[in-house]
């Protein structure tokens, strides 16, 4: 047995976040009264501490636990992103749970446990740690999807998500096994060293392992044709959980996916690149075209999230520093505007009836001007209209693609954007250009989700008008990789 090296300071973000999760679970037992909101505040404090500890490690680059856990800027970028996304999720959950019968405190601890899994995936330097992270994240998310027990769709979502997730885990694990067979290790750095100079195509085990890994991650990022579970699960899950899945789970899967495919396996072969090219085009096209006909906003956002996974895959296809940092920027941009869009749904819900459909948003723009304005900002940003963050993200991705000679991919990408303008504008049409229903009532004040909205709106506009800081951050985080 080798001596296990433990660098406590490198593990600090992980330790802080997991102890917060446990603390929240325990605190639930001592909490009197019906409100579980204090648990969320406790979680927020823990997330802030985790993010702070991650930022304090910014200049550190090290591995620990026998090289299975890595601290680098790439991982830390995602850790901070997950902390932010989880914090916004907690804020909107506080307002959302009031609209449902979910009164249990384990909701909050499950969200936090799930984010622990995400953190592990971003900082994993070993395929098995990636897998463990993925399972921690997913199991918690399965439970969260089924939290709204009075709605049969919620139960259906949980079951569907679990079954599909189990399949995906199987593929992933099989892929890991094949890679182990091919290289003799599950450690990413060792694998990278072993395959250095080797052609992936010549080695059946290696190619098979990579292919299975792609399928496994394809499920998690909801790439076409592995996306079929997404609409039902996103529609059925509680809105705040859907937001968490659309942003957190997807970003975590991309974190591990991009680390493996862009860093460990380095320069891709033409065939492999061609495969990803097709995957990207299929994903964005199917996502966008199907989103057009949706009348349920959650379902529409599910297809939109598939489409955005397609744009993100463009970053993987392009590869290199430009493609990688564009990918990071786009994930951050996507996270902010998607969380915001779901937060508007939470804020627009009636007392016992969460908002879900386009009809629920009718006339919102003039009844609640600020809420309508926020949604309009998110929709325009998702559609890629300047000067909002979604535009800068697309600009970055597509200019990276053009620079590497992927002209047709870019043309398909922008034509997809035009399609997406149609359905994002459809939300604006409902909010501003159709009358409110006659029985429309004023919405109750919901300070927690209002705070989430302020944060996301400000970020969407600020990072769109002055994107330099975030661009530099994305570049520094990706260039630090490998």
């Amino acid at each position: 047995m080798t001596e296990v090296d433990v660098s406590w300071s490198a593990l600090l973000p992980l330790l802080l976040l997991s102890s917060t999760s446990v603390l929240v679970l325990l605190a639930d037992l001592f909490l009197r009264g019906p409100s579980r909101a204090p648990l969320a505040w406790l979680g927020l404090v823990g997330l802030a501490a985790t993010a702070a500890s991650a930022i304090s490690l910014w200049d550190v680059e090290t591995t620990t636990l026998v090289g299975s856990f890595i601290v680098d800027r790439y991982g830390l970028f995602f850790v901070v992103l997950f902390c932010g996304a989880t914090a916004v999720t907690l804020l909107m959950s506080m307002s959302f749970l009031e609209q449902t019968e979910i009164r249990t405190g384990d909701y909050y601890s499950l969200v936090l446990f799930s984010s622990v899994g995400m953190l592990l995936m971003a900082m994993a330097a070993d395929l098995l740690v990636v897998f463990i992270g993925l399972e921690i994240m997913s199991v918690a998310a399965y439970a969260l999807a089924g939290m709204q027990r009075s709605r049969s769709q919620s139960t259906e979502a949980a079951l569907k998500y679990f079954l599909m997730g189990a399949f995906a885990s199987g593929f992933l694990l099989f892929g890991i096994a094949l890679l182990y067979g091919a290289t003799g290790s599950t450690n990413l750095l060792t694998i990278a060293a072993v395959i250095e100079g080797k052609s992936v195509a010549d080695d059946v085990l290696l190619a098979g392992g990579l292919g299975l890994l792609l399928v496994g991650f394809g499920f998690k990022i909801a790439a076409v044709p592995f996306h079929l579970w997404t609409p039902d699960v996103y529609e059925g899950s509680p809105t705040s959980v859907t937001a968490f899945m659309a942003v957190g789970v997807k970003a975590a899967a991309f974190a591990a996916f991009a680390r493996i495919f862009l860093d460990v396996f380095g320069e891709p072969t033409p065939a492999w690149q061609g495969l990803l090219w097709v995957l990207a085009v299929l994903t964005m096209t199917v996502g966008n075209v199907t989103a057009v006909v949706q009348s349920n906003v959650k379902r529409m956002l599910a297809y939109s999230s598939i489409a955005h996974a397609g744009y993100l895959l463009v970053g993987v296809v392009v590869g290199g520093d430009a493609g990688g940092s564009a990918l990071l920027f786009y994930i951050a941009a996507y996270a902010v505007m998607t969380l915001g869009a779901f937060a508007v749904l939470v804020a627009a819900g009636k007392a016992d009836e969460p908002a879900e459909t386009l009809d629920d948003l009718a006339g919102l723009g003039f009844r609640h001007p600020l809420l309508g304005l926020a949604m309009a900002v998110f929709m325009l940003s998702l559609a890629g209209i300047p000067p909002l963050v979604g535009f800068v993200g697309k600009l970055y991705l597509f200019s990276a693609a053009v620079n590497e000679g992927f002209i047709w991919l870019t043309v398909i990408g922008v034509l997809n954007s035009v399609v997406s303008v149609y359905y994002y504008a459809g939300v604006i049409v409902r909010m501003y250009m159709t009358a409110a229903p006659v029985d429309a009532v004023a919405l109750p004040r919901r300070p927690a989700v209002a705070l989430a909205l302020v944060l996301t709106v400000v970020a969407t506009i600020a990072a769109g008008v002055v994107p330099s800081a975030l661009l530099q951050l994305a570049q520094a985080s990706f260039t630090g990789l490998g």
């Binding site: 001007p369 970055y396 053009v402 002209i407 034509l415 049409v429 250009m433």
Partner: protein, 524 residues
């Protein structure tokens, strides 16, 4: 003083101020917006005073770093081409806001905010000399128009708004790809990543590439103009838009298309543009005649004016395609003239729509008896659109035809019929609405123009006479820039021809660039 920045962003500040006024005070929004919109107008007069006609480059240039990671800077400047278009914008917006005080009844706060936001977008697009900055402003001006049509429009407003949005987005996003490609080519050749227009003018792309890039730019701008056969969004948007939206759409937004050709598409890709000019002249001529013919059968006044825009913008494109001093100057002059006269026509229709809630020609007749002041103003406006000598429309059309006769004599001859047809459809409309017996009882109690409405039309009518009788101050400020512009264009084409006598000159450029990078030009 950062004059251009102030002109661009004072409307944005004004929009924020209007946002502070509570929703209940409905007239206050319009009044405040109108008063505040006089600030950029005053500033733009100062810009006119500071303008040096002899200087053919960009003037009052300002530059600041914006997104250095992308090579994007905040760069603005004005020259003889954009000068009067900026003035047209700052002139029309207060008029529209003044008209809106009486015409807009619901959600006045949002209406005025959007108008002011759109003004920032329009002026920004006109003064931007950085391609990405231009693109940002180009989109910023589109979104408020989408809302104006969709929220304050007529019955089919949603259809019209979405159509406007999608048509424009298809063009502009493909243009964005072309911009990215152009910037990449420049970076390959010089190692410098920049969206600076002046630097990108220097890129000499091979003809094959130029054709693609020009096509992408031309598509975006041709949709905006709109050129036949891409014009179908315009009649819908115009018909459904509220009066103010129609005025700005016809007055300024359409000019962005023609301006885009002049500023970007032609000088960036001169060879491809030269090749395409006969096609553009042909389509412009078709548009002139087709638009005019369709006008004749329109029962709805707004739709009629919308199609007359297709016809008039055809003239603008024809003059530009001639690429000589008369043609281009006439084209610029017609942009201004069309902005005034069509804007005023939409306002005139808005006046009776406001009173009767219909725009059908058949509903009216003999209004002169009831509204003589209105009748007089409407007549001047209508005649200016017809192109009567002494009014603004004549000067532009005359110069355009003069220029076009030189380059495309057949097209010019056909285009003349557009002038004749314009007289037919406009005079006929006027006759059916204003003259004859007042036989519809619903029109018997119509009120003539109020003092506010007269003050809406007064500056427009005055400017129509000024531009018609004394074009010299305008033309003299455009001429040096236009001459230099055409000389530059000729010089660029000459260089290309001199290099190897064929049109493949740029190939050496791109080959060198590709080798330097060691990257394949296109992987997919």
């Amino acid at each position: 003083m950062p004059l251009l920045t102030l002109i661009t962003f004072t409307p944005l500040v004004a929009a924020l101020l209007v946002a502070l006024i509570p929703r209940g005070a409905s007239r206050a929004h319009g009044q405040a917006a109108f008063a505040l919109s006089l600030v950029p107008f005053a500033l733009s007069l100062l810009m006119l005073a500071n303008f040096d006609a002899a200087n053919t480059g960009f003037q009052m240039v300002e530059q600041a770093s914006w997104i250095p990671e992308f090579g994007v800077s905040y760069r603005v400047g004005v020259d003889g081409i954009s000068l009067f278009l900026v003035l047209l914008t700052t002139f029309l917006v207060p008029i529209v806001l003044l008209a809106g005080i009486g015409d807009v009844h619901k959600n006045t706060k949002e209406y005025n905010i959007l108008m002011l936001l759109m003004q920032t977008g329009m002026i920004g697009a006109l003064v931007a000399t950085d391609l990405l900055l231009f693109y940002v402003f180009w989109e910023v001006m589109l979104i408020p128009m989408y809302f104006l049509v969709g929220v304050w429009g007529g019955e089919r407003r949603i259809y019209a708004a979405v159509k406007l949005l999608l048509y424009t987005m298809v063009g502009s996003l493909l243009m964005l790809v072309a911009v990215l490609y152009l910037v990449w080519m420049h970076q390959q050749a010089t190692g410098e990543l920049t969206f600076d227009l002046a630097r990108l003018y220097e890129v000499a792309a091979p003809l094959g590439t130029q054709r693609w890039l020009f096509a992408a730019f031309a598509l975006a701008f041709a949709i905006k103009v709109p050129m036949f056969p891409l014009h179908t969004w315009l009649p819908d948007a115009h018909t459904e838009a509220p009066t103010g939206g129609s005025v700005i759409l016809a007055g300024v937004l359409l000019k962005m298309g023609t301006y885009g050709f002049l500023r970007f598409a032609i000088p960036l890709f001169p060879q491809a543009a030269m090749e395409a000019m006969p096609i553009i002249a042909g389509l412009a001529t078709v548009g002139i005649v087709y638009g005019a013919l369709v006008c004749m059968i329109q029962p709805d006044m707004k739709r009629l004016i919308a199609y007359s825009s297709v016809s008039h913008l055809g003239f603008v494109m024809l003059g530009m395609a001639a690429l000589n001093v008369e043609g281009v100057q006439g084209s610029l002059y017609q942009m201004l003239g069309h902005g005034l006269s069509t804007g005023a026509l939409f306002l005139a229709v808005g006046v009776i729509y406001e009173r009767r809630h219909t725009r059908l020609i058949a509903e009216f007749g003999g209004l002169w008896k009831q509204m003589p002041i209105y009748g007089g103003i409407f007549m001047v406006v209508m005649l200016s659109s017809v192109g009567l000598p002494g009014l603004n429309g004549f000067v532009g059309e005359f110069l355009i035809l003069l220029g076009a006769f030189d380059t495309y004599p057949i097209a010019a001859v056909i285009a003349v019929s557009g002038v004749v047809l314009a007289a037919v459809y406009l005079l006929w409309m006027y006759q059916r609405v204003m003259l004859g017996p007042l036989d519809n009882p619903k029109n018997e109690n119509l009120q003539d123009l109020s003092a506010r409405e007269i003050s809406v039309f007064a500056p427009l009518v005055v400017m129509m006479f000024v531009m018609g009788l004394y074009p010299q101050p305008f033309l003299s400020r455009m001429e040096p820039t236009v001459e230099a512009y055409l000389a530059n264009l000729q010089a660029k084409l000459a260089v290309v021809r001199a290099v190897d006598g064929t049109s493949e000159a740029g190939d050496a450029f791109i080959e060198a660039a590709t080798q330097a990078q060691g990257a394949p030009a296109a992987r997919d």
